[in-house]
């Protein structure tokens, strides 16, 4: 039986499927033969040493690498069964469905309200009432509403780092995505702000598919449902070594290289 959640997403089965994926920067192969099925409405963590291609993979999921001159892709990434590299895919629409939160909070230097309303406006929402509703909902979902509801007109840059990152998450949520990509979302935050974001991620995972790249092994272990371990091969191309439930990966990994990495014996 297909289950749909509140934003009309199909939460059943795999949301994203990478098949035989190769990725090159010019002549340099950054990813080799990645096959990875990412479950819907769950958190998937991608871990691995620096340079293993985990961020490159994440960026492929909403075609951010399109902008890099000389980059080339082989294979497919299916989102709900549709290859995102097909010619008829509207990249703007794709990036609305697959939002991204970056390492460093990057609010626009405008008011809190306008930060959130920016995306919906771009997508044609003009009515003030509608925008107010979107801003409130997005901030509530990002667990930031209570802290900023009385100062929506103030500059977003006046918020703390943790608040700014939650604002960025609210900004992603405002355009009603289905997938949220997070590239080291807590690396610039203090432990308390980090735990807040992690709590938020667990709440959001009920309705969104979240993929997080992290160097923080404990974070991957704490928040994710499934974990993928990437590693660099001798020619420096990144490949998927092991993929499985997070509890299995962190208590009883099958591959010696995964064991060595997560126990800190290399990397």
């Amino acid at each position: 039986m297909t289950e749909y959640n509140f934003n009309g997403q199909n939460c059943h089965g795999d949301k994203i499927k990478a098949k035989n994926l190769n990725f090159y920067y010019g002549s340099f192969q950054a990813l080799r033969d990645i096959n990875l099925d990412i479950p819907g409405c769950a958190i998937t963590a991608i871990i691995g040493p620096s340079g293993c291609g985990k961020s490159s993979f994440l960026r492929l999921l909403n075609r951010m690498n399109d902008l890099i001159y000389g980059s080339r892709i082989e294979g497919t990434i299916e989102l709900d069964g549709k290859n995102i590299f097909d010619r008829d895919v509207d990249v703007v629409e794709l990036r609305k469905n697959v939002g991204m939160v970056f390492q460093k909070p990057n609010p626009f230097p405008i008011s809190i309200f306008d930060n959130i309303a920016f995306g919906p406006k771009q997508h044609g929402k003009k009515s003030k009432i509608e925008l107010e509703e979107i801003v409130e909902n997005s901030l509530k979902q990002a667990a930031l509403w209570d802290e900023v509801k009385d100062k929506l007109g103030q500059s977003a840059l006046a918020l703390s780092g943790g608040q700014q990152q939650r604002l960025c998450i609210a900004r992603v949520l405002s355009v009603e995505p289905e997938v949220i990509l997070m590239d080291e979302p807590c690396s610039a935050l203090d432990p308390m702000a980090t735990l807040k974001i992690e709590d938020l991620m667990r709440t959001l995972a009920k309705n969104y598919t979240i993929i997080i790249v992290t160097h923080n092994m404990q974070q991957a272990a704490r928040v994710s449902d499934t974990t993928a371990f990437f590693m660099m091969e001798p020619d420096r191309a990144g490949s998927l070594v092991e993929y499985g439930s997070t509890s299995e990966i962190f208590t009883n990994p099958k591959d010696k290289r995964t064991e060595d990495y997560i126990t800190g014996r290399f990397g």
């Binding site: 092994m217 404990q218 272990a221 962190f250 208590t251 009883n252 990994p253 995964t258 064991e259 997560i262 126990t263 800190g264 014996r265 290399f266």
Partner: protein, 222 residues
Amino acid sequence: MEIRTDFNRRLREIQDDILIMGSMVEAAIITSIKALKERDIDIAKQLISDDALINRKRFEIEEKCIKLIATQQPLAGDLRTIISVLNILTELERIGDYAAGISKIVLMIGNEEHLKPLIDIPRMADKTTLMLRKSLDAFIKQDADKARAVIAEDDDVDNLYDQVFRELLTFMIEDPRTITRATRLIWAAHNLERSADRVTNICERIIYIVTGKMEELGASNY
């Protein structure tokens, strides 16, 4: 270059501590049976008070494990090792209690003659301490097959216990005045039988360290 040198050193230290505690427990079993055989109250009393040293060692190792978990966030094989060490500690500590239990039986017996020369009970003790030594060897070598082989040896201890029980039963049937003395020896044998079961629990933990699978293998008849 070895990474996590400090962590590795501290983990090895814990493994060495387990060996030390294991040999303390082994010595306790051997001594308790010597006290029983010779009805030596002084040795028995000493052993009962020395049980505190085993308990202290247990807490000392446990504390090291907790510290390592809190400060080093061990994962995968390291995590399985530390969690298993915590379980193994409990098993060893209980075997120490069984040795102290046998010593308390020695105090109850006092100067009373044994019903018969003790043969099978010392055999049970030899077998149990051998199992214990082998299990600690399997722990250090992280050898699941060795651990499984030790578990299989528990049947020998169970069979000896059966034998002791049957034999003492015949004494009791023939002469009910022997019931008290016979029952005390059955208690002593039971302590050894339980000790061997604890060793099989240790072996199950070793298998978990190596394979990541929890297996219930040492199902005892008692």
